[in-house]
Symmetry: D4
Subunit: 210 residues, 8 copies
């Protein structure tokens, strides 16, 4: 396993049968196993081969699946706040949430607060201010993370999303504007909810170590 990060299977691009085999081998070896970017075909293959005693949890909004034979991950402390600019950014945000929870953090979310005007953002932030770390997902011009970073003291992670169209419309404009931001931001790959969530959990857990 990666150090401190649960092993996660990226379903996308894998043959459903092969995918199910890998998942089941892993839940047997480790008692728990997570997959992201799970299509209906992957899910079906998994269900068809699910051994007795293995629990399958489908997190639809995150396109994720959890296999387990035992308990849920123990809370390890730390709170992660996740915001999205629009509704199209929610799947990436939910992928991040799945990871952060899996790593024992508690998560609070405020979705679709980017285009609805700055007041909606302000009221959303009020509840989230005590969080240890923020993930802000945004597509198109990707400016919400920099705005949030200008308003809170905790570290903010920008998660660029591949919405948008035309020139650099596959998330590149969002990535570029986050990297160029004058605010203090760290960034992950386009659509990389997995990385954003795991990194945020590493930050948030730090406090629980104390």
């Amino acid at each position: 396993v990666r150090c401190g990060v649960p092993e996660v299977v990226l379903a996308e691009g894998k043959d459903p049968e092969a995918f199910a085999g890998i998942m089941i081998a892993q839940v047997r070896a480790a008692g728990r196993c997570i997959a992201t970017r799970v299509s209906p075909a992957h899910l079906e293959a998994l269900r068809a081969r699910l051994p007795p005693g293995v629990r399958l949890e489908h997190r639809e909004a995150a396109r994720g699946v959890i296999l387990s034979t035992g308990d849920d991950p123990a809370p390890r402390g730390g709170t992660v706040a996740i915001l999205t600019a629009g509704t199209s950014d929610i799947p990436a945000a939910e992928e991040a949430r799945l990871m952060a929870e899996e790593m024992g953090c508690s998560v609070k979310t405020a979705y679709d607060v980017g285009v609805a005007g700055i007041h909606r953002l302000f009221s959303a932030l009020r509840d989230l201010i005590p969080a240890d770390v923020f993930i802000v997902a945004a597509g198109r011009e990707g400016t919400l993370p920099a705005i949030v970073a200008g308003l809170v003291d905790s570290p903010v992670i920008g998660l660029p999303v591949s919405t948008g169209y035309g020139y650099m419309g596959g998330g590149e404009a969002a990535l570029a504007s986050m990297l160029q931001a004058c605010s203090v931001l760290a960034v992950v790959n386009i659509d990389a909810g997995f990385t954003a969530g795991a990194f945020a959990a590493q930050v948030a857990r730090g406090r629980a170590r104390e």
Copy 2:
């Protein structure tokens, strides 16, 4: 001449002697002639050959020069508001101002209002609200134009500036984020103060026609 737009000489990339020759030929033919991106060498060559009766006005902040044998352009009505996010965006903004004034508009400016916090922007906008059209210059992540477009009813023109460094740091990130903006924005080329100013004047003058 271009329709309704004064002929302007782009000094950059021209031999100083040749540049001076073109300028003087043109002021003789038309009574007035503007140059942008003027280096000290261009300026010197122009001064050395300036014929009697031709007035030379050096607009340093805009890196511009105006030669004329007659009066200043008659006011044609319309007000253009020009904002910049930082101090490095000022030369491009001043190039835009030169054009708009040359086309008979009055210009109001608020510079360096991007990084100083949203309050400075709000108070700057208060004075500018009645303007017919806005030009907003920004480099790096280039988000100020979209923010202004979300706050005013008049048309907003984004002017991306080639400040920044690293990934897409030559103004490309700013251009991309303006093109992808969810707000309603029109855009010009990177550093194209000339185009932004002339376009804004065309918009603003429309009202004076009435």
Copy 3:
């Protein structure tokens, strides 16, 4: 709502059921609601859930839908002229028209005037000259907007379209040539009829304010 611009739902990339839900919620809240890039599946989902008393207008050429419970938008004055170079540019042009009309402007169009020789363009322009602002849509090499801008005094907005093939054939060549144009042009994102139409309406309405 964005200042002065009606809220518009971008159907593309949204689940049809979710899309229908958002639309109906919004027409109830605001009395009127517009969608762009509407596929047959979106349209069907909307029709299946349409509440009594809500009128659905399908603008096929624009791939747009309008839901309303009341009157059409009041005219606010101003005329927008929309031209296209070829027939493939018409959907983007119609998206622009939908927005401009929705914002209370009257619209005049001349489509497919780019490849038919300069005479067809001249005769088309004769009728459109009094317009307050021009939108010119073009794909491939995207030169029509610059030609129009060289012929009229009103502001011209270039709308690059993702026709073409091969090198930069997804609209990038058109975008680049509009940004580099020697004429005075402002530009929007590739295929961004929405932005072109709303920006043009902001320009045209300026005159009606007087």
Copy 4:
């Protein structure tokens, strides 16, 4: 000031005289002022105008300058570990260190541990393991951050550096490989020591809040 992050002047691209003016105004207003990417010309202009009672500290390796009229920043707790792959990555690393120290963190460094074989890295990491957060600077193929992230439990920030030549040799290959890394990494812009340092301090300080 930005929330929790000291205001920093980016000297690069600023006229030396103007730069000195901004710095002195700011140290008078705030008692402390930092600049990054300071050239000899900038330094000279600053020294020539330095008012009595203002202390100038030149951090050569970081290409940074600190003006102050009072005490150094109070320690706020938290430790940041900074590693570099090669010697060309040191200036970016030192810029990060300057920021982290300025924000009250203590910093430990291990430079040039990338090419010297895995053993040098292992022995360097042994001392740094208790750090709250890691910054790893690397140019060319930029793989050191991912390797470190595979070895430690604390969050790791990748800082791509514009060394290298040929294909994507301006830091783009390093940036790309960090964004694509299988390990859990967050990333900042190419050469953005400023951002890496400030972000790391935000993470490290979190623990001191307890």
Copy 5:
């Protein structure tokens, strides 16, 4: 035929009927014929037209097909070691294996040794050390080839694979990081198992010539 390299038909992009015709003509002329990137439709067309006396061997993992009327290629000496970072890199690796075996080399493989931690790699390398040449296939950030090159004395060929997503996720990040590697590496095109295998065989065979 190309000098020393067997002629290979790239099925991808060819009409199945035309493909079968080319294959059968070639096996008749040369006694042996290989195809890569063979889809089920290609395979079916081939089987339907297979003449008596022609043997068809389907190498599923390599997406390859061999038609022959005679013996297998004579061993020419030399050993090629092939490693992959993950499981998605196996098809490209198998395409390389097919070529190397076809050119008379013996091949040893170790797949999926990249993410499983450095220990798995070490134990895999122990068996492979005597190989004459290494092919290392990797997608995403593509760093495994450089790590292997740092551990073995024989030449190492990097084979970038088009797994990954987001920024440069089609294999470009892997290609770039291999080209920028500080270790000594030669590289082939993204997904070019054919080239990697044939080049490796040319290297390995050199020894058998003695």
Copy 6:
């Protein structure tokens, strides 16, 4: 020598001494020798070493030099028309002219006819219509070649020039718009006056063969 095309030395990037040596060796071997992109330093080195009996002709506008020991190239028939959009395109156009004349064609030029309005272009074309082939040089948006191709029956070669700034401002926008042009155009590399001129001469000479 290349078939039918005189050998030409590209001075740019060559050490002046080495350049002079190559030129003199070649004029001795072939009686005639051409260089393009000649800097003052190259010219000086050449003059310092010029052997008796070798004539040096400096074509300043073309940045070219011709060394010869005998007569000028014999006329081979055919006429090449060369147009430029602006004045910055003249050096590339003159490089083309040098090649065409050297290959025995007669050349007619019309420079700076792009921005001066369509009437100037029409009157320029009137004289050039009988030419066997056209070269049209243009930078920035590069649309003049397509316009000319729409007006004449003879083949038109687009020569993109690296003027312009901002997005694709190094000639890429011009290249892209010429490749995407709806008119019938063939294109050469950015600033490749040499290729345009030699290709045009091949076309024009065809008629003289008769």
Copy 7:
């Protein structure tokens, strides 16, 4: 019509019904009408609506269709030679052939002469040498046009084709290597058989004018 070039309808991207309508209107107006990139659906729509007295000729290899009410185009003299490097380049080559024949030239072809070794090329060229102009189509690394240009005296047009995979595998590598070629070559857009054929016909016809 474009000067000297027959009007051609690009079927790709057009609705089959609309396509058929345009074609039939045009054949009625002009007696003859050509379409390229015709899919089976386009063809079917055309056949279903074909009016009596209109002849439909389907050029399958060229993916082209010709509608006519009268005679074939009169020969205008001139010969165009068309070569391809591989078999995947044939559709683009046939599109070029269709255009050249339509413009009254005679066409000779030699396909798949690039990978078969230099001898096959030599023997193919022997028959084609008297041609007035050459079109050479090539994908992947696209070097055949430069080789041919080094062997013949007539002008050579490079036609890059979108075969290949991996890095710049959509025809970009072929385009780039043709533009950078040391031989004298003019180039058209990727897959632009239409342009290559029409340009070649303009060159070849030049001789027939005599």
Copy 8:
């Protein structure tokens, strides 16, 4: 040290004083030390600090320097052939030669054989055929490596060089065409003579191991 590859210092981008310090430390530790991309300033700094007993060898054509206190590297067997297409490719080729010789191989060269016609290449190859491995350096369209690979049985390494101008003129076209080549080629980074030479030596030495 890297396994089997001598440690080499890349002078480019290093401060001359720091560079000299690193070199002298290393020659003391290891008895031998190589630098590449050495400018006159680097050389001067090195000479000024050269300790007694250390020999400095300046390889001008390779822009390389060797410091040593003992004997030259022992021959390890194997022959590397190095070819260049033009004269501008010689520095990269010489950098490769330096590395190969330093690793104990014997090197044979044939420079400037690309543009001089295929006959010069054939006669050059005749002498080089017995080499164990070939390095072929080429800029612009970079096709020489593929041609050589089609003529010899030994492995061929393509070394793209950053000559050329215009579109992809910094070596990218050469890199792309080598990666897309139909011949069997492995490739290194643009201008990476170091990597090409060391990789070739690893291949060539393999045979000497026997």
